[in-house]
Point group: C2
Amino acid sequence: MPRQTSRDLRNESRFEVLHALFSLGPSTRQEIAKHTGLSTATVATLVTQFLAEGVLRIATVEQNTVGRPYERLSIDPDRGRILGIDVAETYVDATVYDVTLGPLGQSEVALDEHENDQAYVVGGIVRAVEAAVAASGTRRDQIIGAGVSMPGQVRPDAGVSVFAPNWDWHDVKIEELLEERLSMPVYVDNPLKAVALSEMWFGVGRETKTMAVVNLGTGVGAGIAIDGSLLRGAANNAGEWGHTLLQLDGRQCRCGRRGCVEAYLGVHGLEMSLAEIDPDHPALRQPLQRGFVDAVAEGLAADDPALLELARRTSHYLAAGLGDLINLLNISHVTLTGWTTEALAEWLLPAVRAELPEHVLPGSQPGLTVEASRVPGNAVALGMATFTLEQFLGALGLASPASAPGTRRRLRTPASAKS
Amino acid sequence: MPRQTSRDLRNESRFEVLHALFSLGPSTRQEIAKHTGLSTATVATLVTQFLAEGVLRIATVEQNTVGRPYERLSIDPDRGRILGIDVAETYVDATVYDVTLGPLGQSEVALDEHENDQAYVVGGIVRAVEAAVAASGTRRDQIIGAGVSMPGQVRPDAGVSVFAPNWDWHDVKIEELLEERLSMPVYVDNPLKAVALSEMWFGVGRETKTMAVVNLGTGVGAGIAIDGSLLRGAANNAGEWGHTLLQLDGRQCRCGRRGCVEAYLGVHGLEMSLAEIDPDHPALRQPLQRGFVDAVAEGLAADDPALLELARRTSHYLAAGLGDLINLLNISHVTLTGWTTEALAEWLLPAVRAELPEHVLPGSQPGLTVEASRVPGNAVALGMATFTLEQFLGALGLASPASAPGTRRRLRTPASAKS
């Protein structure tokens, strides 16, 4: 039985100081104490340790008219670089971050969603990484590691893509494959866990510790945080809201079941809905899913009646599906993310908010908010970089209370950070 | 921000020692250490404290051929009595327990499900309590308190029945009403939380810390434990699986929404299913829900074809609804409870187990078990007594890590326990 010791508590305090600096930016010891709830004395002790270890640096010194000068502390951005990589069915997005998780360079490579060869997908990841590393002006020896989100079911502790339905991958040792090709430590996880973590660190998580982050793209799903802990489930598969029912014995879902939420709200679900409304609609002739979603957004902006009906039906499905999530978990904060959200939020969100009260039990309605994510950039890539940073902090002896999946701790201290 | 201190950790250890004694029965210090993972020295220190406080007593002393005698410790059952009360739409079940949660006496009072007057319901509770107290030979001054489960949405911290759909109750101060009538401390909660807690203490919770307990009765819902913590949600409404969708825009549910799981798996849902199969079936002429369920069980035992078709459809609905719960939460252990389960499990469970793999994602299938609850007696009443015991232990300075809803600590030490 795992047991929390006083050493864990000290580590948790150390982690919270760093987390506060990520949230607040450069801050005084007093501001950190206020944000974390730790005593000023504890914060002062921990900051002294961090300065000695080179994790923090003094960013600015301010002199007020009276009293001692105020030092603002920040995490030393030169300690290393981290890659966050979002691998989806239709693209790879790689971003290089500094250790304060500020983006330095990014690259996107398109993937053909009809191609499922391992070498093809791995090749796309490698090209995206190389371009992002070049764009950010990063030296290889600065890189602490790469966090790679793979679609479908992933076991971070084993580094394995257990099942990727779109590619029909089973038990692919993706971490090993990528470490060999990229020559850097790799941490793999699932995009739902990544978006939840980025929302916990940089989005609505600043205000609440309990939330659902609903991702709408080729696949759909939810990242769920309860009291500041990521819900992983028995085998890291929690959050498969996309494979809960909207309609018993309804539309065929690619998971094999019928009537799943994803068969209505995944991009292919939207295509099926539009085909029911107007089977000859020109948007359906787009060969790739992203092209379809872009065509829908353009047509909606031009008040295309078939697409307005598509938006109406999609909002109805989305309100119903979110109602299920809220009724089951009694979660007050729902954030929408993913590229369908980015393209269509302005048409979907007002209608969803209007219909949602019809689906939510009275006791779960007070304080309920549904918003598009405020996390800047690619939330999956940012979340994967955050996981990688947590692993790195873990290797420094800092436990994250939130997301630790009990993975192997293999991330090295980079050469630049040791000096 | 709540913060766990080393004092909480000590209290958690104290709680685990008591929890081990509830699970194991009379045990030696060595057995307690093995079960809890605490060191033998820590267990010895805590046991000495408990003996001094009169919480534990030495149950037996065994002398082996060599070495020191072994003392078996148990919780002192004479420290007080606890009432666990299950208030449903159709009955009140009150049970008196000793502080080891052994049942001493029980009583059931039928409620007319068409009657929603507060005085009527409270009167039924009082009659059940009086009969159970008499049946158990309990003196009033021995009673530590009563845990009362109320149907619908309950706020334990406020002692309020927020919304009881069957009675159309809104914000009824039920705890205050009952404390006045019963002259004892009352703790109220929701039956889903109660069944989950009793399963955590006395059922599958002995083997796992993560589980869903699915209650099938007039209403249906799930009690959910994640890593040993009860999932409560923002307003104690988590677990309303009964009000997630089986069929978008399907059957009218009493919650106002259409197509909810409860409209198919609650007793009224079963009545609607049977009416679709054979609107003139004699089981539908039973005036009360319990009579209907008993008639269905009798007819199934006699191979009534309409009822066999009802069992087939109900199993299909149940497998689909459980599939949603498992896919979303990646929970490996599902326990079925409630009076529909008791009456119909032998017809439903084999069919549900056979169909379930069609609804569950491959990654969530390994190790998946679905069973009828092994918790003896009324799991709601037992869970409510367990909550009340936790409150009592809390008042002694023992924090339960699992279920504490941040309630007021008002349970008194009874006269008999003080002596």
